[in-house]
Symmetry: C2
Subunit: 470 residues, 2 copies
């Protein structure tokens, strides 16, 4: 790209969006670094369109100039999918101004929102209509729906309500050519051709830009109850999950596994966090949530029966909202804080069939010890979805830096073990930049070729978020 092309594109963008919505220099900086501050990209400009028409205009102008576009929502992604490369050749397209709730339809149990709506605001709008929008994740205060859909976000309620894909009925998308596809259908059944919706969801902005979505709503649960349970073995945890699904059905809304080592790390680094079962005498723990009218009674009965049957080694059912909050603070906040205070770790987001979790845990721990004795697996995650955040902490007998020297080898090892169990190297975070080069080792050449044919069909000039996913 010549300086002249760049200048005339910037001028055209300013003319179309208004001077004040085309940012360069210091204004642009916060958009060019990912949340974990691992990547520092550059861009021709950060543009902030107001609506789908302006997004389409940006895409047409960039296309005419041959300039790539990197879409960005709340910039909370963990895989670098929304950060441009260092060439400075791309335009960063921020969806943040498309932040309106367009419609709530309580008879249809749907909400239609623009892509830049912050997830917590969507939850709030649903709640005000006496409905639940169940997508829930750590960054919900700043992540946006468009980002959630681009990465097919998960979170803690997937067990009951599914991931972002499962919660979406319709999309509005701006294509690579800058045309607007209005697929904002609020239909639970529509078998009229290929599911473009499902193709754009999870494509991380590489096929087009999602600008709005029609999402499913659910009744607000009458109440919620939580329990913290200890297991003598991972096999017991699986047996209890199966029993809980059988007994509680759809009332079981979360089942989070936490390894003993993780709780010990919390006890050491976050002593102010109460431990539901302070002895830490068992190798595995789980935090359960049930939702519904009398789900608390059913949860208590389940815990008692499982204790008697020896499936569960110990159990604490939260006796108050305050106590339940403390249980969840442990899961949602204290684990992260403890890991950071411990010096950081090498993170993963793998999934395997639930039945393969024990074999995955055993083999991976062995392989890590073979790589370097003393490495500490910190396993926790959504057991009900087979999704573990299998993080690896440093050998306490070595400097922390030694861990990060091994980072790539640890990633490869953990991913290979997940793959060996029929698993995935990215359960809910996507591929972005960080896992792009790993993908060919774990997907068949045929699957990658099919993906490339689709990319070529929908973005033949390779201007949509190039260098991500594929």
């Amino acid at each position: 790209m010549t300086a002249g092309v760049a200048e005339s594109l910037l001028a055209a963008l300013r003319a179309r969006l208004g001077q004040e919505w085309v940012w360069t220099g210091a204004d642009a900086e916060p958009f060019l670094t990912d949340q974990r501050r691992l990547l520092h990209g550059r861009a021709l400009a950060v543009v902030r369109p107001a609506d789908a028409e302006e997004v389409a205009a940006v895409l047409r102008l960039c296309r005419a100039a041959g300039v790539p576009v990197v879409p960005q929502g709340g910039n909370t992604g963990l895989m670098g999918g929304a950060t441009p490369d260092a060439s400075g050749q791309a335009v960063l397209l921020s969806l943040g101004r498309l932040n309106r709730v367009l419609a709530v339809d309580t008879d249809n149990d749907t909400i239609t929102v623009q892509a830049g709506c912050v997830l917590a605001n969507v939850q709030e709008a649903a709640s005000q209509a006496n409905r639940l929008f169940p997508l829930s994740l750590g960054s919900e205060g700043s992540c946006t729906l468009g980002g959630n859909l681009s990465t097919n976000a998960g979170g803690t309620q997937v067990l009951r309500y599914g991931n972002a894909r499962d919660l979406t009925l319709g999309l509005e998308v701006v294509t690579a050519e800058g045309e607007i596809w209005n697929g904002l259908r609020g239909l639970r059944k529509d078998n009229t051709g290929y599911s473009l919706r499902d193709l754009y969801i999870g494509s991380e902005g590489t096929l087009g830009v999602i600008t709005a979505a029609t999402l499913k709503l659910y009744p607000l649960p009458a109440g919620q109850d939580s329990a913290f349970v200890a297991f003598a073995s991972i096999e017991s945890a699986l047996a209890f999950l199966s029993l809980a699904r059988q007994r509680l059905g759809a009332a079981l809304t979360a089942f989070e596994l936490i390894g003993q080592a993780v709780l010990a790390l919390v006890a050491r680094h976050v002593p102010e966090q109460p431990q539901p079962l302070p002895a830490l005498a068992q190798p595995w723990y789980a935090l359960l949530e049930t939702s519904g009218d009398d789900s608390g009674a059913a949860l208590l009965q389940l815990a008692q029966d499982a204790l008697e049957a020896g499936v569960v080694a110990d159990a604490a059912v939260a006796q108050s909202l305050q106590q339940a909050s403390a249980f969840w603070r442990l899961r949602d906040e204290a684990i992260g804080v403890a890991q950071a205070r411990d010096g950081g770790n090498v993170k993963h987001d793998i999934s395997v069939p639930i039945s393969r979790v024990p074999m995955f845990l055993q083999n991976t721990a062995q392989a890590l010890q073979a790589l370097q004795p003393g490495l500490r697996p910190m396993a926790f995650g959504h057991l009900g979805d087979g999704n573990l955040h299998y993080n690896v902490s440093h050998d306490p007998g070595q400097p922390v830096a030694r861990l990060f020297e091994l980072e790539e080898r640890i990633h490869d090892l953990v991913h290979a073990q997940a793959h060996a169990q029929g698993g995935s190297i990215s359960a809910e975070h996507g591929i972005g930049q960080f896992k792009r080069d790993a993908l060919p080792r774990f997907k068949s050449p045929l699957e990658l070729a099919l993906m490339r044919r689709i990319k070529q069909a929908l973005d033949p000039l390779n201007l949509m978020n190039p260098g991500k996913v594929l």
Copy 2:
């Protein structure tokens, strides 16, 4: 295609599959007519491969000869998607021999089956493992899983468990080039690129051939209860649906709307069918099903409260399994028999947002009366999904033949009314041959163009079920 090409292809197919699995003449006939006997196709041969490798070999041989392939499961589709055209140029690929259950994993709550498995056999295999496979539809005794996935089949349990797409975790697919993609992943979370799974599901064999699937299982419900309810207006039916969802949550597993005229038709033509509420004094009725431990008590309480509040005009809760069966026989069998005995009708499978159902019903009835006074709308269907089988029966003052003279105009009218309410012309039956020409009137040129680009990308020679969908 010359006779020589055809002969050498047949010889190659016989050599690969064995003489006995390449059928022509009278043996082939049952595969060349659709279930409703509206279409009579021809084919070079019906081939019956034994496994995915043989399917792949068939596709490679046909591709080399430039011969189109029409995949077929149980041949129960309603849109002609599995019937070849009359040219006799295509090979009909019957999946019926791929009928094995490959694996049941109760810890992962998944079942893996070949595409030719009859749906009822999948249900039975799940049940033997003390699990539920919830897909359920009228033709379950003969339709196959592959056909269910090709058309993204729905049925009566979609309200709770979703349609065929929602029940599928992984697929094995033979591509147009005759390569086997093994995507049989039993993962509830896997965000590693484009969702090929969702692209093949619902594509009616036009992008490749589904040969196996890994499907979700659920706990067997402890019990089921049914109620038959009458409403003074369609608005009351919607209000009751909303209340039922709020009060019963996931325990509400079906909500089937039935119009008074439909019940009257049953009373007249199928007098042996018991009527749960014999007076037929209200314009709308619904058949509800709840599943779970004490769902019966909750259903009874809901019906009583709704009666007191005037939301419901009358209600009968089934007092025995026998009575519940009779309720469901009315819905699943008697309505079809009554329609046939009445002389047949013009059938539809539309969906609209649930909130738009009243407007759709009112406007469509008016438009039909304007077309020909005396036409009788027979509306029933899955209100919980916004999916109505809005069938139109003949004016009793006219011969039945007059109805079918108007068939195309009635289709256009009903489809236009569904479209005007943001709806779909095919909720759960697909497009096939019968709705292909209507599609461009109700989908934007952009959406059709995107679909064609995908078709071109994955089947560039247009040999996969040509003439269907697009």
